[in-house]
Symmetry: C2
Subunit: 210 residues, 2 copies
């Protein structure tokens, strides 16, 4: 078995109890996006593929970045162990990507591979996939389908009013401006437009006009 | 308070513990669609509005139509009581709509109001709203986001593979052919197209190509 397949099999085991909005399929979508963007941006594909496969393996242990466990930092630790065991030489490059994929103040993506992983992970929150994930997550926490009149500033997270629309207004529609690579920007622009049209239509359908 | 508002307040109480994919907001969307279609089809608006408001009040007690409790029949019973209490004269017309809104063999919508309610209820399963509801429901039962390669014939209902895409392939894409009114057909055609485009795009995004 080659290195990529070997690490893929090992990483998959960290997702056995994960929920639908952040499961192994999310990792696989990010992996596919990394390959697509990586080719356009002339990235080191081996490092990039390994980083994509391993970027969320710390998620099961995540609590929070403030004081608790950050899944990016925990994931980087686990990845280091895994890659050391198989004797991988460029593990530091992979670790850098995993550690910085949330782009927190003390963890800024510097290499092109780290920038691509950040873009791919964020891209999976928008477009048709992003719409699906936002509603799936709302279902997981027992939220409503939609409430276009809800005062979003007063809506509590994980409450019945923590809808996909709130997620879109507060977070998802800002993602396109955070992209770090040229191809990431291009994909984000298209996915943003699609998501924007979706919620515009949703708001009209709710009134029974279309 | 006028009759419609009075019944609305009473009906709302039947949805206090309902889940997001079949809650009071679903009733309100069906109500809005009924008003829109009713105007085009010259329906009796009072009967139609009352039927829309009351059509799902038996849902909390639904088990199944085969042997158990059917929410359309149970809802018709509860509605009859409510409307009798307020001395409403045309209650039989409302009851007919509620009883037949699932269009089962022994309960076929005959009046124009009943046909409109059937169309409105089904329309709320497709288009942008339908996409949202399908993913929300998948989240509620702990299903995956998406698996375009799943063998749908082997997928069990309420399993991890009971995804929004399965619902679309098995049920939602057939709804446009079941509409009973002219305006219902027109709306369904547009909503179907939108939903179709959504899943086509989703399948491409998952591969990381767009």
């Amino acid at each position: 078995m080659d290195l990529i397949e070997d690490i893929k099999q090992k990483a998959k085991n960290f997702f056995l109890n994960s929920k639908g909005s952040h499961d192994w399929e999310h990792t696989m979508r990010v992996y596919n996006l990394c390959i697509h963007i990586g080719k356009k941006e002339n990235a080191g594909m081996e490092v990039l593929k390994l980083a994509a496969i391993l970027h969320d393996i710390g998620r099961a242990q995540q609590d929070d970045c403030n004081g608790g466990i950050c899944h990016a930092e925990k994931g980087a630790e686990i990845a280091k162990e895994l890659l050391t065991k198989v004797g991988y030489k460029k593990s530091e490059k992979v670790i850098h990507c995993i550690k910085t994929h949330r782009f927190r103040k003390n963890n800024i993506p510097v290499s092109i591979e780290a920038k691509i992983l950040f873009d791919a992970d964020k891209l999976d929150s928008i477009g048709a996939v992003g719409i699906g994930r936002a509603f799936l997550f709302a279902g997981e926490i027992g939220a409503k389908l939609h409430n276009k009149y809800a005062d979003i500033n007063k809506t509590e997270e994980y409450s019945k009013d923590d809808t996909a629309y709130r997620e879109y207004i507060v977070k998802l529609r800002k993602i396109k401006d955070r992209m770090l690579t040229k191809e990431g920007k291009r994909l984000a622009k298209e996915r943003h437009k699609f998501m924007d049209d979706f919620f515009e239509r949703l708001n009209k359908e709710v009134d029974g006009d279309i």
